[in-house]
C-alpha cells in the first residue's frame, strides 16, 4: 500500500499552501478534503444559475504577496483587484462615504466634523505604525518565551528589537492599543458617532467581542493590517471569487506533483506508538504517511478526529477550552439588478465599493448583547459588498450577487437548536435591514443562501462556524496560539503538525499559517527551507 510523505487534512487555503510548499520541496503529498470542492472557507460556489458565491470569506487583503509571487499564483489564474471604499450607513440613513482619494475624503469628513477630518490623518498614521510592526511577525514562527533554546531567544530578541524601534512613547501607545476596546481607543481621535462606528466595525468582525470589549482594538488591526500592493488597509477581491485563490494554490500544488482527494472526510488520525502514521477516512479507507498535517481547527483536530487515548494528558482539555465561538452569519444573495441606496450618489466608483450597515456604536454593542443572550439582533451589523459590480465572471451580465456578512449570529440559540425556520428568520432580518436602506431591494432578489454558524460548521467544518478558527484574543495569539507550548506548528504527537488558522498568525486568507507550518516541517526533515520568511516589503 502506498505511503505518502505527508497527508494534509483539509483543502482550505492554508492546507493547500502547506501542501504546495511540501510538494515543491520534493515530498509526496496528499490533501484529503471532506467536501466535493476545495477551498474550505475560500471557495466560489455556483449555488444559483450563473451566480458564483464566495459563500464564506468574500474579500482578501492579508494574502502574503511573497507567497503569491513564490507559488506563482498569477500563473495559476489568481488576480487580486483592490476594491474601492465603503459606504457606512447610520441608523437615521445618514451615510459616510469613503472616497478613494485624499482630497474628496478630507472634504467629506470635514463636512461631518472638521476636527475628525484632521484627526483621521493621525489615526491612519498610528494604525499604519501598529500594522507594520505586526506584519513583520506574520511569516515567522512565534518564539517560546519559556525556552532557552537559541532560536527562541533569537526570535524573542527580534521581537523585542522591533518593538524597541517604535520609540518609548509608541511602545506604550502600542500596548494600550493592543489591550483596549475599539470604541474607547477611537474616543481619543474622533467625535462624530458615525465616523467612530465606521472605524470601530472591523473590531468586531468574526469575533465574540463587542466594540466596548477590551481586546477589540486588536481585532480592528487584524482587519486593517493587510494590504493590496502595499496599501495597508486596502481590501481586494479575487477575480472569480475567493475560490480563485484556493484554485490557484491547488494549481501550484498539482504542478509540483501533489495530489488532492475530495469527498474524503477523515474519521480519525492514526497514531501508532505515539507517532502519527496516517488517517482513516469515514469509509474506513486507511491512508498512510510519514507526516500528518491538520488544517482543521484545533478543537476539531483534537476532540473530533483524534482518539483521546492517543493524546498526552491535558491536550484534550486544552482543545476543549480553546475559544472558538461562532458569532457571524452570512447571507449571499443573487440579484436581478444593482441595488440603489438612499443617500448614496449613484456613481460607478461608489457602486464598486462595499456597504456597511453600521447604525452606531450602541447598535453594534446591543447586537453583541443579543449574541450573549443566545439570539440575534433585529438590527445587526451587516457588512456587504457586491463583487459582481466589477467582476464580470461571478454573475450573469446585468445581474449581481451580493455578499452580506452579519455580526452577530450565535452558534447556539437560547431557545434550542437552529432549525431551517430560524435560519430563514435570521436571513429575513438581514434582508429587512437592507431594504430599509435600499427601498425595492427585496424585489431584486432571485435567490438567497443563508448561513448561520450552524451551516458554516456543517459545511466547512469550522467549529461553531468561527471564521478565524479560534478567537483572536491575547490568550490565543502569538505563542499562545493554539495552546501555549504548541505554537510552533508541531503537535504533541510526533510527526503531527497543524497548519490552519488556529495557529499563528490566525484567521484571514493569508496563507501564512500554512506556509509557516511547512517551514517548520522542512526544518524537522532537515530539508532546505523554501518558504519565504518575510513579505519583501520595504516599509
Amino acid at each position: 500500500m502506498k505511503k505518502y510523505d505527508a497527508i494534509i487534512i483539509g483543502a482550505g487555503h492554508n492546507g493547500l499552501t502547506n501542501a504546495a510548499y511540501l510538494a515543491r520541496a520534493g515530498l509526496d503529498v496528499l490533501v484529503v478534503e471532506k467536501n466535493d470542492y476545495i477551498g474550505g472557507a475560500a471557495a466560489s460556489r455556483q449555488l444559483h444559475n450563473g451566480f458564483w458565491y464566495s459563500n464564506c470569506s468574500y474579500v482578501c487583503s492579508m494574502m502574503r504577496q511573497a507567497i503569491h509571487r513564490d507559488l506563482d499564483l498569477t500563473k495559476h489564474g489568481l488576480v487580486l483587484v483592490p476594491y474601492l471604499g465603503t459606504v457606512g450607513f447610520a441608523d437615521n440613513g445618514d451615510t459616510l462615504i469613503s472616497y478613494h482619494s485624499e482630497g474628496p475624503e478630507y472634504n467629506h469628513l470635514r463636512a461631518r466634523s472638521p476636527h475628525d477630518a484632521d484627526a483621521m490623518f493621525r489615526f491612519q498614521t498610528d494604525l499604519a505604525r501598529y500594522a507594520q510592526l505586526i506584519r513583520k511577525t506574520l511569516l515567522r514562527t512565534p518564539p517560546d518565551p519559556t525556552s532557552f533554546r537559541p532560536r527562541d531567544i533569537k526570535e524573542l530578541i527580534f521581537l523585542a528589537r522591533e518593538f524597541g524601534t517604535l520609540g518609548q512613547k509608541e511602545i506604550y501607545e502600542y500596548i494600550r492599543f493592543f489591550t483596549m476596546s475599539a470604541a474607547e481607543f477611537l474616543e481619543d481621535y474622533f467625535e462624530d458617532d458615525l465616523i467612530k462606528a465606521a472605524m470601530a466595525s472591523p473590531g468586531i468582525i468574526g469575533t465574540a467581542l463587542g466594540v466596548y470589549s477590551p481586546g477589540s482594538a486588536y481585532i480592528l488591526l487584524h482587519h486593517v493590517m493587510g494590504d493590496v500592493d502595499g496599501n495597508i488597509g486596502a481590501w481586494g477581491l479575487a477575480r472569480g471569487g475567493m475560490g480563485a485563490i484556493s484554485k490557484a494554490i491547488a494549481g501550484a500544488l498539482q504542478e509540483a506533483g501533489g495530489e488532492i482527494m475530495t469527498e474524503a472526510p477523515v474519521k480519525q488520525i492514526l497514531v501508532t506508538n505515539g507517532k502519527a502514521v496516517g488517517v482513516i477516512l469515514e469509509n474506513d479507507e486507511e491512508l498512510h504517511a510519514n507526516i500528518v498535517v491538520s488544517n482543521l481547527d484545533a478543537k476539531r483536530t483534537f476532540t473530533k478526529v483524534m482518539d483521546k487515548k492517543d493524546l498526552p494528558p491535558g491536550i484534550y482539555d486544552k482543545a476543549k477550552n480553546f475559544k472558538i465561538r461562532g458569532s457571524s452569519g452570512k447571507v449571499n444573495i443573487a440579484l436581478s439588478g444593482l441595488p440603489k441606496f438612499t443617500n448614496v450618489p449613484d456613481n460607478r466608483y461608489i457602486n464598486r465599493g462595499g456597504q456597511a450597515f453600521l447604525g452606531s456604536l450602541e447598535t453594534m454593542e446591543r447586537a453583541y448583547d443579543c449574541w450573549k443572550r443566545g439570539t440575534w439582533s433585529e438590527d445587526p451589523f451587516v457588512e456587504s459588498v457586491i463583487p459582481s459590480a466589477w467582476d464580470p465572471t461571478v454573475a450573469p451580465p446585468g445581474q449581481h450577487w451580493m455578499s452580506n456578512f452579519i455580526q452577530y449570529c450565535p452558534a447556539e440559540l437560547a431557545d434550542g437548536p437552529w432549525t431551517p425556520e430560524k435560519r430563514d428568520a435570521f436571513g429575513q432580518t438581514v434582508i429587512d435591514k437592507i431594504e430599509r436602506y435600499s427601498p425595492g431591494f427585496k424585489k431584486l432578489i432571485l435567490h438567497a443562501e443563508i448561513r448561520t454558524p450552524h451551516e458554516i460548521e456543517n459545511e466547512v467544518g469550522l467549529t461553531e462556524g468561527n471564521i478565524f478558527q479560534g478567537e483572536l484574543t491575547i490568550d490565543q495569539l502569538l505563542f499562545n496560539r493554539p495552546f501555549p507550548g504548541y505554537a510552533q506548528y508541531r503537535m504533541p504527537i510526533k510527526n503531527m503538525y497543524m497548519c490552519g488558522s488556529s495557529t499563528h498568525p490566525g484567521g484571514g486568507v493569508s496563507s501564512a499559517c500554512g506556509a509557516n507550518a511547512a517551514r517548520e516541517i522542512l526544518k524537522d526533515l532537515r530539508r532546505k527551507n523554501t518558504v519565504p520568511e518575510d513579505d519583501c516589503y520595504d516599509e
Binding site: 506604550y172 494600550r176 477590551p214 477550552n321 450573549k372 491575547i474 490568550d475 499562545n480
Partner: protein, 514 residues
C-alpha cells in the same frame, strides 16, 4: 508668612498617610493636608445617620504587612482582623462559602478543582507579589539597574516552571468567564470568584485582558485574597497610621482643601515649590507629593498651563469612571438572611456570571442595572462602635452603576436604584426592608463629590493592562516623579494601584528618599 516644609503631602487617604509616615520617620518635616474633616479618604469612617457610621471601603484584603512592620503600626494600635469567609448567596439558602482556602456548598469536582485552582493562582500571586512594592522602571533607554529589575521579574516568572509560566501567560488575559468555565461547574462559585476580578472596574465576566491581573493583585495580601476588617474597623488602620505619623512629628491639617500646587516658572523651567489652600493660605516645601488622583492632581491642582499637551491629554483620557455605588443601611435590628445564622461574613449576591454580565450591559449605556449584583456585609457585627447597641449597619457595593448616568443622577433615579437594591436584598434577607431606619445611597457621582475622587473610581483609574505598572497613570509619571521637578505622585493612580494596600504611598516615599 509662609511656613517651609521638607515635604507637603496632599490628601490623607491611606496612601497619603503611608507616604507621610515613611518620610516623617526619616526625619523629614512633613505637612499632610486633607480636604475632609476626617482622615482616610475612601477608607474614612463617616456618620451617615445619627449614631450609624460606615466607610466606602468596607474591608481590607491586601494591606501590606511590610508597611505594617516598617512603620511599626502594631505599636500604634493596628491589629489585622480575622479573615472573613466569602459567601455566595443563593436564594434557596444553599450558599457557597469560601474560608481558609476551602470551598463548601458545591459538588466534589468543584471542591477538587477549587483546591487546584487556588494553589495555581496563589503561586502566580506570589510570583508577582514582589513587584507591587517596587518602582517599575520604564521600557526603553534603561539603565543597568532597571534592566536588572526586569530581568529579575522575568526570572521570577520563569521560576514558576515551564508549564506554570506558559499557563500564566495564557490565563493572564482571559476573561473571568473563560477562566471560570474552564475550572468550575457551580454557577454561584463561578460568579463569586469572578467578583474579585471585576469589582471596582468597568469590566464584566466576558471582558478580556484585565480581570485575572486584578484577581492576582487582590491575592497579594497576608490573607491571600480573603477579606478582613481590622480591629476597630477601618478606623483601626487609619488611626494607627495617623498616630504613627504624628508621633514622628508630622503635622496633619484636616479641612484644608488645596486649591493649587504652586509652580515656580522661571527661565530655568518649572518646579513645584508649595501649595495654596482654597482659603488662600500658602505653604512652601522642597517637594510636593500628591496622593490625590492623577486627574485632579494635574488638571486641577497643577493646571494644564504647566504641562505638556500630549501629557495633559493622556491624563485626561485615563479611564477613571467609577461603576460601583455604595449603599449604607441603618437597621433597627439584625437582618435575617436565608440559611445564615449570623451574617458577619462577606456576602456576594450574584447568582451566576450572566447576572453580572447583564447588570454590566445596562451600565454600558449609562443606566443603572434594574437587577444589581452586590457585595454585602454588616460591619457593625465586627465593630460595635459603628451602630447604636442592638442596631446595625449594612454596607453594600452595588455593581454596575455608571458615574455618568444618561440623563444625570436625579433624585428619582437614585431612589429607584436604592429601591432595586433593597428589593434584591430582601430576596435573600426577607423583611429587611422593614428594618431600615435610614438608607444612604452613594452613586459614583456622589462618591466623586463627597470623597473628592475623580469619577468616584475606587482605584483612581481603571485597573487595565494599559494603565498598569510603568504605564500607571501614564508613562511619564509612572515612577512617582512627574514632569514637574519637585512634584511626586503617591495615589492609587500609580503602580501598584488601588485597594487598601499602601503600595503607591510606600513606593513614592521610597523614590523620594532615594
Amino acid at each position: 508668612m509662609t511656613k517651609q516644609y521638607d515635604t507637603i503631602i496632599i490628601g490623607a487617604g491611606h496612601n497619603g498617610l503611608v507616604c507621610a509616615a515613611y518620610l516623617a520617620k526619616k526625619g523629614q518635616k512633613v505637612l499632610l493636608l486633607e480636604a475632609a474633616d476626617t482622615l482616610g479618604g475612601l477608607a474614612s469612617t463617616r456618620e451617615f445617620h445619627p449614631g450609624f457610621k460606615a466607610s466606602v471601603a468596607h474591608t481590607i484584603n491586601q494591606f501590606s504587612s511590610k508597611i505594617v512592620g516598617d512603620l511599626n503600626l502594631a505599636a500604634y494600635g493596628f491589629k489585622s482582623g480575622k479573615p472573613m469567609q466569602s459567601v455566595g448567596l443563593s436564594e434557596d439558602g444553599q450558599h457557597v462559602s469560601i474560608a481558609n482556602g476551602k470551598v463548601t456548598g458545591v459538588g466534589q469536582s468543584d471542591i477538587d478543582a477549587f483546591a487546584r485552582y487556588t494553589k495555581m493562582m496563589q503561586r502566580y500571586a506570589k510570583a508577582m507579589a514582589g513587584f507591587s512594592l517596587q518602582t517599575i522602571p520604564p521600557i526603553g533607554n534603561n539603565s543597568f539597574s532597571e534592566v536588572l529589575t526586569f530581568a529579575k521579574m522575568g526570572l521570577k516568572i520563569r521560576g514558576l516552571g515551564r508549564e506554570d509560566m506558559r499557563e500564566l501567560l495564557r490565563i493572564i488575559s482571559l476573561p473571568a468567564r473563560d477562566l471560570m468555565d474552564e475550572n468550575f461547574d457551580n454557577p454561584i462559585l463561578k460568579a463569586m470568584l469572578s467578583w474579585d476580578g471585576l469589582i471596582g472596574s468597568k469590566m464584566a465576566p466576558r471582558s478580556p485582558n484585565n480581570t485575572v491581573l486584578m484577581m492576582l493583585f487582590r491575592m497579594i495580601g497576608e490573607h491571600r485574597g480573603a477579606h478582613a476588617l481590622p480591629v476597630g474597623g477601618m478606623d483601626g488602620l487609619i488611626n494607627a497610621l495617623s498616630n504613627a505619623l504624628t508621633s514622628s512629628g508630622a503635622e496633619i491639617r484636616t479641612s484644608a482643601p488645596v486649591g493649587q500646587v504652586l509652580v515656580n516658572r522661571s527661565k530655568n523651567g518649572l518646579s513645584a515649590v508649595g501649595v495654596i489652600l482654597q482659603n488662600g493660605e500658602e505653604f512652601k516645601a522642597q517637594r510636593i507629593v500628591s496622593a490625590v488622583d492623577p486627574k485632579q492632581t494635574f488638571l486641577d491642582l497643577v493646571g494644564v498651563d504647566n504641562l505638556e499637551i500630549e501629557f495633559t491629554n493622556r491624563i485626561n483620557r485615563l479611564r477613571s469612571d467609577g461603576y460601583v455605588a455604595k449603599l449604607h443601611l441603618a437597621l433597627d435590628g439584625l437582618p435575617d438572611f436565608n440559611g445564615i445564622n449570623i451574617p458577619n461574613e462577606r456576602m456576594i449576591i450574584a447568582p451566576e456570571m450572566d447576572a453580572i454580565e447583564f447588570a454590566f450591559d445596562d451600565a454600558k449605556y449609562g443606566e443603572a442595572s434594574s437587577e444589581p449584583v452586590m457585595e454585602v456585609m454588616l460591619p457593625s457585627l465586627r465593630d460595635q462602635s459603628l451602630a447604636p447597641e442592638g442596631k446595625h449597619v449594612l454596607s453594600a457595593h452595588i455593581m454596575y452603576v455608571p458615574y455618568n448616568r444618561k440623563g444625570g443622577w436625579t433624585k428619582k433615579a437614585k431612589d429607584q436604584l436604592a429601591k432595586n437594591a433593597i428589593k434584591t436584598l430582601s430576596q435573600y434577607a426577607p423583611g429587611i426592608e422593614k428594618q431600615i431606619a435610614h438608607a444612604e445611597l452613594l452613586t459614583p457621582a456622589d462618591i466623586a463629590e463627597s470623597h473628592l475622587v475623580t469619577g468616584g473610581h475606587w482605584h483612581h483609574g481603571e485597573f487595565a493592562l494599559d494603565q498598569m505598572m510603568m504605564m500607571r497613570p501614564t508613562y511619564e509619571a509612572a515612577q512617582y516623579k512627574t514632569p514637574i521637578p519637585g512634584l511626586y505622585l503617591a495615589s492609587a493612580g500609580c503602580h501598584p494601584g488601588g485597594g487598601i494596600m499602601g503600595g503607591p504611598g510606600h513606593n513614592a516615599a521610597h523614590e523620594i528618599l532615594k
